[in-house]
Amino acid sequence: MIRTRGLTKRFGSLVAVDALDLDVREGDIYGFLGANGSGKTTTVRMLLGLVLATAGEIEVLDQPMPAAGRRVLPQVGALVEGPAAYPHLSGRANLALFDAMGPAGARASRSRRVDDVLDQVGLGGIDKRPVRAYSLGMRQRLGLASALLRQPRLLVLDEPTNGLDPQGIREIRGLLQDLHAAGTTIFLSSHLLAEVEQLCSRIGVLDRGRLVLQDQLSELRRPTGRTYVRTPDVARARALLDGSVEHHDDDSLLVRVDDAAALNALLVGGGVRVEVLAPERHTLEDVVLEAAQASADRIERVLPS
């Protein structure tokens, strides 16, 4: 769905995006992670033809961008760096206006399309008040509605849950999961690890313009080979397991063992009371922090020597 080769963008001497090889497959919910200023938004803008690449190739829906923009973009819905609307018009009037722009917006079915997407994002009962009076969350929903107007095959979303409350976030997550189940590929750019972890099947991590990691979430969160055990009988368990305990504290242990079931049988057989036993997994946070360096908006003082 999205494939880039050696995608590079320089702003003057600053390299914002450096030789990016993205690979988003059909049916993915792709989480594009990166700190603020790591080049996520510039990448998204290049995918959509807003920013022109310095070097490299972009293919979206198997067609070159931005050259094939007129054919590709009607099948793409996007939310780029926050929603935007004409503040003096109502949400409905805004959607009708956006629907009238560009190709494939037949007038006869316009009001039905607008009603449909408003229902989808939970703004079906919206009144005539202007967007100026909307809350941040309502604007975010309206932006999402605008992205859905053309029933896109590909959704490119930059921080889609920004400004939403916890209920709203869960609702939007549900909506995205429904759309995905109906066959929409989703490219989700975010700096929120938890959001990406809950939603995405594939992850790319951007650090200072470079793609430092790109893999399936299940692969990244593979077991570490250790098993977590919680028990009141820590001392007895340590004696039983001997050298395979890598870490322990008052009521838990981390045991390096291949077979968790055998471990459980061994412990129970040895009279250890087991409260919790589970294979330890890599957390996305650990993986990402390991791959990426310090935060891009952190600027260290260089001490004079």
Binding site: L50, V51, L73, V80, A84, A93
Partner: protein
Amino acid sequence: MIAVELRKMVLSRRTWVTVLLIDALPTLVAVLLALTDLGPRPGTGPAFLSAVLTDGTLYPLAAIAIVVPLLLPIAVAVVAGEAIAGEAQAGTLRYLLIRPVGRTRLLVAKLVSVMAFVLLTVLVVAATAYLLGTLLLGRQDVVTAGTASISGTTLSTQELLVRTGLALVYAMLSMLGVAAIALFLSTVVDSPLAAALGTLAVLVASSLLLTLDAAHALQPWLPTRYWLSFVDLFRDPILWRDVLRGTGLQLVYVAVFLAAGWANFTTKDITD
């Protein structure tokens, strides 16, 4: 896209406020003239204004001559300056372009919308002025007496209508030049205010240089040089020289600035 831009223009309350504000000045002048009966002496003051006390049907032309030098260019600079920079500032530009609306198409639609705004303003001003002129100011039996041209001979109503139409087209063309400059600046800067003020700076500088004898060599090339030459359309016979030069000059400005704006906008990174 043109239809969408026109709808946005018509739906915007600011469009109508601007038109009414522009219309207010010639209305005020008409009321003052009617109350005091003190017109400027022939040859002084805004064009045609000395004639309207005897012939109110000329007042639409006088009204256009009142708004063309200052009010209308300010409005055009603001509206056209906002075209691209305003969308960029509101964040809607990126959503327009990924709809997708082609960049060239968007520029054309914006230009058409600005000119529709000028046409709307000119028509409202002319219509109001015609009403006020015939109701408040001097009334002659146009059909029998005819209207006096500036040269003193009389013009038939038909001739007057044709020449008024030409004058409106000429005023529109002058404003198209302003719109082209403002649209170009609107693709360059990030703020609509900067684009509008930049355009006004060009116009103010041009007006200033026109009063300076030392700038004589530059004067035929200044954008405001021939703005009021439509007055020559009401001489008998018509004095075409300045009207034609003005037309040519505005076309050059329009071509140069639209080309520059297009070249800039179609290769620009949209980062706001």
